[in-house]
Point group: C2
Chain length 180, copies 2
């Protein structure tokens, strides 16, 4: 069950516009509050999506294609977005994400991948052997994980306000699943 | 911890555009597949959002304001979207949702609610006494629940394709929480 570029690319292409439509100029209640403790805000998540766009997906695809399993991908700094996001508005981050994503997709299309390429293998620093198809599918899955997370962070802000409806609102039962 | 209309309305106003940006013209892999069994597709969810817009939120607010606790809200038919969605394209449903939501928000603004109104109580057919503030918060929470659900339905389509990355993708650990 391999990902198909004709499914993966349209999803990757839409995420920036979807986040822009959801978040731009939204009150800070939704965008600058987190789920408590050290958890992330929607603002943080958009910063993380920019960071992973720069260091994670296409850079890893290039390492895989160039070095195969002989060179592991660079580990991801999960706080790598903090400093570059400082002092920026959410609107600026949303622009930056859209530009970074468009550039990544141009690079992906320029690779002109052929059917045999998707089975080529690389080495993830923690997960071990992975192939290019899995990496591309995970890129799409990462967008969806963070869209899922943003909807949950936002819902958290109204967890008391909804009163007894809380029992009916699935997003308010979602414990966050650790990774995001 | 009451919802605030100046937070609730901007969120409600953005959901149709966010879903439109995410879903319009996306391959059917993402929009017409479900999570197995009788679960919903993204197409079904948009149909449900239209249905609840017509029968649930503003209609219930009006019953609450007119009858207080003396008349329970009409129960929601959770399959009420099935027949009205038949034969339509997802693009048509997204239009219909945007129109229905804009109309609801016009009606909500026209009520010109005053601070004291938010504490007025009505009767939910299953949950019992609820107030107007909770109803409005639940409307926003319902949007977020279904955005959360759509991201999970879509991620489900790549649960095998991502290979070992599955462990890192929170959305793929989300069991669905029964209600959505």
């Amino acid at each position: 069950m391999e990902q198909n570029l004709s499914d993966t690319i349209p999803l990757l292409a839409r995420t920036p516009a979807a986040l822009n439509a959801l978040l731009r100029d939204l009150p800070e209640t939704w965008t600058l509050r987190n789920e408590g403790g050290n958890t992330w805000t929607a603002f943080d998540v958009v910063g993380h999506l920019i960071h992973t766009e720069h260091v994670d997906w296409m850079p890893r695809a290039r390492i895989l294609l160039e070095f195969g399993e002989t060179r592991a991908f660079d580990p991801l700094d999960r706080l790598g977005h903090v400093r570059p996001s400082q002092g920026k508005s959410l609107g600026e981050l949303l622009e930056e994400f859209a530009e970074a994503r468009a550039k990544s997709l141009d690079e992906l299309r320029a690779l002109n991948l052929q059917p045999g390429d998707f089975e080529r293998r690389g080495r993830h620093p923690a997960l071990g052997a992975v192939n290019l198809s899995q990496l591309l599918a995970a890129w799409a899955g990462h967008d969806l994980t963070h869209l899922h997370q943003i909807s949950r962070i936002m819902a958290h802000q109204y967890r008391e306000s909804v009163g007894p409806w809380r029992a009916y609102l699935g997003v308010m039962q979602c414990a966050g699943h650790g990774s995001a």
